[in-house]
Amino acid sequence: MQISTNRISPVMMELSVEVPADTVKTELEKAYNTLSKKAHVKGFRPGKTPRDVLRRLFGPQVQNDVVNSLVNDTLPRALTEKNLIAVSQPVVEPGRLEATTTFAYKARFEVQPDIEDVKYEGFELFRPKVEVDEKAVEAELERIRTAHSTLKAPEPARAAKANDVVTLDFTLSIDGAEVKDGGGQGVQIEVGAGQALPELDAALAGKNVGDTFTADAKFADDHPKAEFRGKTGSFKVTITEVKEKVLPALDDELAKDVGNFQTLVELRANVHSQLEKIAKDRSETVVAEQIVTKLNDNNPCDVPPSLVEQQARLMEQEVAMSARRLGQRFTKESLEALQKQIRVDAERKVRAGLLMAAIAKKNEFKVTDEDLEKGMQELAAETGKNIAKLRVEYREKAKRDILIGMILEDKILDFLESKSKIVDGDPPKADDAAAKEETK
């Protein structure tokens, strides 16, 4: 088997392979033998059809099969022999297949670029300060209070005002006709919280239990139901209950209700540490993002388009999922803009990944058993799982590889950070950077 390689671009390779004649011959022979046993040709018993008749009837098909099997057989071997790793599906351009001569084909595929020299020293990075504002702690506690609030009818009864929860029955008519299934009974709405259409929401304030009134409200132009779009609906509402929210006092009792805390001090400390962790994570992410950006800016290199495509598809899925969760919908233009942005981000991410891999290779980073153990302990602390259970779980190769990848990435990031100048404080605004890039 003769193999020659030809680098078309830093990320594109062409492999020319020549398969020796006797391999071709045996392969063809084999194909016809199996075919002759199976083929039903009128005038011949199965297995008795002469070779040249078979060739006339099934020639092109057999040729295709043999070409495929030859390529499938030889291409992986050729790749390992030349120490190449294809990152895209190879596109094969087969030559002519004849029983008496060698069979040559060309395979074109993407490879990881050879990155020899990565510039990674002396980056100027900004690390945002990890600070927890006491105000933020208070706000979080307030949120907890609201979450644990109870509903109570006010004494004495009074008109509904903002933040009260109103229970109501209503019917809906559009253009004078009542909409079937458009009404509701015992619906709870918090006044002034934007849960109902704005006009209806405004009308609720100041109403008492037992009041019946009509409110006109306009539906949004992009309402999910086509027949509602842009129409004005007339709601006939009867208020059955008005309740106010009663917030629990900020004391040890609340702490016990929230969970595993005995005193308010403990709860406060916990909120503080959680906020601190979030801030710290965010700061780490900011630094990591800067490293990715700097690596990209300092090391322009080609990246295999198929890897970018893969990454972009992954990111698109993530975006689509979070959009669905938030109930967002995209217009065609915004979707296109988003896809474009994702492409750019994906390319940066892939390039940074390749560069980091090159750095790891150059500096011979390895993940040792101790690292793994440490990683698992961290994971156990984070997820609250039993460490022994985790150890068993991560004996599986696929999972282990993911963990190893994560640890390796952390190590590289730490290494890069240690080689950089770290400045405390927020990084300069992204707008400035973008503006700079434009002027370039």
Binding site: V41, K42, G43, F44, R45, K48, P50, V53, R56
Partner: protein, 98 residues
């Protein structure tokens, strides 16, 4: 009778015809009932540009085919096995391919 009307069709895709062709250089044809050995010889020589040594003919009795409740008899037909001079051959596929 013209050569084209004497030779109805070659018989190629059967085991027996295949064996005759490969082993004894004989070719089988369905021919007109009225054709004689001499006329077949002349027709084959003219149509395929080969030298014919001898011709054997046989009449195949038509098979009974069911037609609803009763039987219908298929036409009797004549087969000719033509022996060519050594070295001559007829390539039936070449014509259909082009």
């Amino acid at each position: 009778m013209s050569p084209e009307s004497i030779i109805r069709r070659p018989i190629v895709l059967t085991e027996k015809a295949n064996r005759l062709r490969e082993k004894t250089n004989q070719y089988a044809f369905e021919v007109a009932r009225a054709a004689t050995k001499t006329s077949i010889k002349e027709a084959v020589q003219k149509l395929f540009n080969v030298k014919v040594e001898s011709v054997n003919t046989m009449v195949y009795r038509g098979k009974d085919r069911r037609m609803g409740r009763g039987y219908a008899k298929m036409q009797n037909w004549k087969k000719a096995v033509v022996t060519l001079k050594e070295g001559d051959s007829i390539d039936f596929f070449a014509e259909t391919e082009s």
